[in-house]
Symmetry: C2
Subunit: 262 residues, 2 copies
Amino acid sequence: MATGRTHRPATRSRGIPEATVARLPLYLRALTALSERSVPTVSSEELAAAAGVNSAKLRKDFSYLGSYGTRGVGYDVEYLVYQISRELGLTQDWPVAIVGIGNLGAALANYGGFASRGFRVAALIDADPAMAGTPVAGIAVQHTDDLDRIISDNGVSIGVITTPPGAAQQVCDRLVAAGVTSILNFAPTVLSVPDGVDVRKVDLSIELQILAFHEQRKAGEEAAADGRAVVDTDDEEEAPPMRATPAGRKGPDGDMPAVMPA
Amino acid sequence: MATGRTHRPATRSRGIPEATVARLPLYLRALTALSERSVPTVSSEELAAAAGVNSAKLRKDFSYLGSYGTRGVGYDVEYLVYQISRELGLTQDWPVAIVGIGNLGAALANYGGFASRGFRVAALIDADPAMAGTPVAGIAVQHTDDLDRIISDNGVSIGVITTPPGAAQQVCDRLVAAGVTSILNFAPTVLSVPDGVDVRKVDLSIELQILAFHEQRKAGEEAAADGRAVVDTDDEEEAPPMRATPAGRKGPDGDMPAVMPA
DNA sequence: ATGTCTTTGTGAACGCGTGCACAAAGATAG
DNA sequence: CTATCTTTGTGCACGCGTTCACAAAGACAT
């Protein structure tokens, strides 16, 4: 999916490969579903199918955590849920602060999945003075001026940025200065952070563009198979190097609705 | 990235590696910004810095597209914007349908970045009859019953799923049946689709869990450096394989607010 | 206790992605 | 026209991630 990455390239944290870490939440979700159905054990084959991965990969992933399975039987669901939760650090409480309470920020604040697994929305922060005090998802929005204090007081180490792109880097800097060491960035901007700070980005626009690429390719192949039955016949280069952007549509990246263009 | 992946594993589409395709939107964004500032040319070093990648990687990426640079000078910004746009299929219009108009769906509908680059919100679809006709972001919400017709009439090939997880697979099946071949899934579920359909997923919960993992690791290392100055001293396994989930909190995955738990 | 059967855990091979380092190419100055 | 300087394009090597295939391990029946 949908997530680009912006973090340590090849640092195998405590022996667990990054690719494996990224799949653990997937396994955990599938296991939780099984747990709720009171299924006692599950084989690598079944669990892999539920998580949408290869069974060999799943077994190798689990092998990095230790030998938690029983040969001839499979894995104990409850035990595995606990082990993965512990490995991911979900047995403790993670206060999260969301900065930028626009459409997206508000949607995330209402996100039920936050509380469900160790994450707790500890604070909502916005730069608009008019928003201060307004309750969103039952929590009063606070002003950016108090950002440092809010982060410190609540012991927030994970920040979520849902501001317009023009404000993202500044907000990021302030979060980091206040002690945040993990950032989930929804703004379409490349954030630069000091070493030791993790940044992950969620970028709707990029995901759509990747889909468009494959969609176009599919259309092209189809056309080739149909013997050129579709609209435009350009395949290889031919078009003029025309200007793609209006150039100067507005000033520098200022503020706009919270969910922003690319 | 928030972006997990669920698509062809190693099918190099028309020679362009998947990893490169995923970075093209990043380059395009940086180039567009340069274009708006009327910068005529840019070196691989500068552009790489703006996009947050290695310059050698950028040059290799561009080499898959062809030789669009000039040695000793760099790349022509306008020309490159056009070439990448064309490669990504952004020179044409992509009507997109959003299914599941809750908090998140509405936020996406208001997303300015949709229209900005080839994507157009063609339809909003929701299962709640009470929502039908309600305008969201200037577009009237339509009922799920008409899904097939809506997709066909608008020529939608890209669908965005922002429904509760319990409804996601069913919605997905209907979208595919109606002709959609690319899906962006925000519901925390593994979607199964026939060959030829691309699925990308955006999963907030997974991203947060990955951050929590690294955060925990950082805290652990810090503790080790401080000579065990922090709270709980458990590092290696010791805890009881206790039950992690209440088990049976509610029925099967029904419906809940549009942005949902994991 | 022994044998059979199932499923895990992993050694090994392979392929993709990344980054280095440099030769080729062109611009620019004299 | 020649020399120099900049920057691209890429051959090559390395490392991570994936997958195969199988031996080891345990459950279970007899």
